[in-house]
Symmetry: C2
Subunit: 271 residues, 2 copies
């Protein structure tokens, strides 16, 4: 008798989703998460596919244009990446789309192979929140000036202990023992006729709720609600916790970068 | 006894809305329209306000960033435009926002004073429709090339009989006896990393469903499904009807222009 597991093929799956109707990425009892929906779709297409591992969790309400996951399909299956993508898009709710899928080396792991992530955080600064931006931007009327906010963001860049800018997970686990991270970019651009500021964070890894703490704290500093000295202490990784976590609404996971051998072909090549 | 109507003050009201949850602008039995929601909010604030006149109807599913309406409030009311805007935004569902409101000369009529309207029509051309663009863009994967579509659109510009590019209203009325209109602009720009084409239509007036017929027909011509000769006949206002009305999803009423005395102060001045 041979009890060895059946041989499998690994697939990299790129996903975009509207985070508003979901309780975040991570599978949970009772469902309602993006991972639950993706795993249900995979299993509906091929019952032997039992799980999809994401590059990381996104919180409830957080959207993604470039989340990455991987899954293993039976080697005997003849479905290629293109077939998987089409089957998934015919099965998933329209709030989740498979933007790309390809077979990848078994060494690839959506979470552990990731070398860089990019998040955008949108802040609507007009007097009213445009209806089409509901749940997609944090409404902070009149926030500015943009260059002062950009200068505060620039202070986040570099390698430091970001523990003050993180939260414990609800399950009480404190996964990240090493809380040093490198933020390559913390920048700002104006968008939508100047009615929105989009803050971009690009780094080698992010602690739980880190982007939202970085945004909330930067806005507090801009509004003069955190003194310079207190901000310096937070930046030095001091014992204090950042006081404000911005809402999930404005946050989008833009992309996850992997070593070159795991990258997708450019969309233009794939078309 | 004095039966004369109470003196009133007229207000111009600028509105933005997410058209997806609504059955269009125009009030209807059973409600569910933007006008119904606006009139309910006005009456909740001041029961003497009985109606809001829009610049024109938008179809079910059509959004607006710059719809304009007017309403009459009792002259005895002390509420100014700013107070009306705030009260409306506290009363309206978040899918509708009052972006501006100001008292205006009684000669102003949101519909009859309008001299120009601008619509955008978004077409998503990527292989999958991004989840955040659901109901906001028409999905036409691979549509192009953009310059060929732009050349087709340019042929719409000018003054002509647009009757072939219109539909009868559901109530059977054929409101527009004179179906000549001037289209000042029918252009195209790329947006969203080139994954979307945004078609802009600016003209002195639009027939029922005209923009959607212009878009649908242009795409048919681009795809070679309408011969050049047949397109020429449609452009000449010939008896044939344009064969294809694009879905409401991609359409947004961007702005309505009025003579200078009726214009809002620029947003920057108003803040």
């Amino acid at each position: 008798m041979d009890d060895a597991p059946l041989p499998t093929r690994r697939f990299r799956l790129d996903l975009a989703y509207d985070g508003r109707p979901f309780s975040g990425w991570q599978s949970q009892r009772g469902g309602g998460t993006v991972q639950d929906a993706v795993e249900s779709a995979l299993a509906a297409i091929c019952p032997a596919v039992v799980s999809a591992q994401g590059s990381g969790r996104t919180d409830a309400g957080v959207s993604a244009t470039g989340q990455v996951a991987h899954f293993d399909a039976p080697a005997a299956s003849r479905m290629g990446g293109r077939e998987w993508r089409r089957a998934l898009n015919a099965t998933l709710p329209p709030t989740i789309r498979a933007t790309a899928c390809r077979e990848i080396a078994p060494a690839f792991h959506a979470r552990f192979s990731a070398v860089e992530k990019t998040y955008d955080y949108a802040i609507a600064i007009g007097e009213v929140l445009p209806p089409l931006r509901r749940g997609l931007a944090w409404h902070q009327p009149g926030l500015g000036p943009a260059d002062a906010l950009a200068a505060i963001l620039a202070r986040y860049e570099g390698t430091r202990d970001f523990r003050p800018f993180s939260a414990k997970r609800h399950d009480g686990r404190d996964e990240a023992r090493d809380t040093r991270r490198t933020l390559h970019e913390a920048s700002l651009r104006e968008s939508g006729d100047g009615d929105e500021l989009v803050l971009r964070f690009r780094g080698n890894g992010f602690l739980y709720k880190m982007v939202r703490f970085l945004v909330g704290t930067a806005v507090y500093v801009l509004r003069g609600r955190i003194a310079d000295g207190a901000f310096d202490i937070l930046l030095d990784g001091g014992g204090a916790k950042a006081p404000y976590c911005a809402p999930a609404d404005g946050l989008t996971l833009v992309s996850v970068r992997y070593p070159a051998e795991f990258e997708m072909p450019r969309p233009d090549d794939a078309r």
